[in-house]
Amino acid sequence: MNENRSGKQLLNRINQVSFAVDDLLLYLDTHPCDERALMLCRKMVKERKELLEEYAQNFGPLTIDCTDMSESESWKWMEQPFPWEREGGCR
């Protein structure tokens, strides 16, 4: 895994992998025995977990399950921007 990914690059990859999971999830609901889709979904879910952890360690948590990744004294979840906020903006 690339060590020096920026937050933006990492979030981009999280969005891509998560979308693959979103789409495979619906496909598997109606094709529950499709082996290729099952394999791909497992692979994507695993990568998603790793990426969410990597993001939480370096930039802050995106989900409540990643709030234990840093030793910070303050509540990092609240400090993470909402996704509609302007980059570098104050809201």
Binding site: L11, S18, T30, T63, P83
Partner: protein, 209 residues
């Protein structure tokens, strides 16, 4: 139960405000074929689905629609932040501004407030799934209408194209769910009984004939 993720399903980064387009796109938040109606429809209907496949499809598409209404409201918010009073008055956004300033509120492009009468939950899986198929097509048509207007504004058109493509995937999945329900019914008369009400066991479990 739902957990929140602090990201959008597909990124939205709009840099230029545009009050007129915001009012059009607001319809896909709280309008007749908008994402709130879609999500509430599927999440309400799922309780009376007669098999696991149909319940799973409604549950998971209803959940994805929550992410879509967040994307649409993000588009509206980003199109209305930093608006000047002159733009508000010129663009026809004035009446909305008087009631909501630039807060996001669910209404149709024409100003009609969101209302649960925009969807049904009939408690009959064949009826409900046909409504869901139609709902996906109506939303797809609305996104097509929006795309004709925003074609030359890539930062708006890009996330709208993503949302439009999802309508088509959802239509496909609902078609498969409908087939799964009908395959458990009598092909000579799909309407002999309502599998969610009259005789649920016959349609929902393979062990009892």
């Amino acid at each position: 139960m739902w957990n929140y993720e602090k990201r959008l399903q597909y990124p939205v980064n709009i840099t230029k405000p545009n009050a007129k387009i915001a009012q059009y796109i607001l319809s896909q938040y709280g309008g007749p074929d908008g994402e709130i109606g879609a999500s509430m429809r599927y999440l309400s209907q799922r309780f009376t689905m007669p098999n696991r496949m149909a319940a799973a499809v409604l549950n998971d598409i209803g959940t994805e629609e929550l992410a879509h209404l967040e994307m649409v409201s993000t588009i509206v918010h980003q199109l209305t932040r930093d608006l000047s009073m002159e733009e508000i008055e010129k663009s026809g956004f004035g009446p909305y501004y008087i009631d909501h300033t630039v807060g996001v509120w669910p209404q149709a492009a024409g100003g009609i407030p969101f209302n649960a009468c925009e969807f049904q939950s009939k408690g009959d899986p064949v009826t409900d799934l046909f409504e869901d198929l139609a709902a996906e097509q109506k939303a797809r048509s609305t996104y097509d209408n929006i795309l004709r207007v925003v074609r030359d504004m890539p930062e708006i058109a890009d996330p709208i194209r993503f949302l439009r493509a999802r309508e088509i995937v959802h239509f496909q999945r609902f078609g498969e769910a409908l087939r799964s329900v009908q395959e458990n019914l009598d092909a000579k008369n799909f309407y002999a009984f309502n599998p969610s009400f009259d005789n649920p066991c016959k349609a929902s479990c393979k062990d009892c004939k």
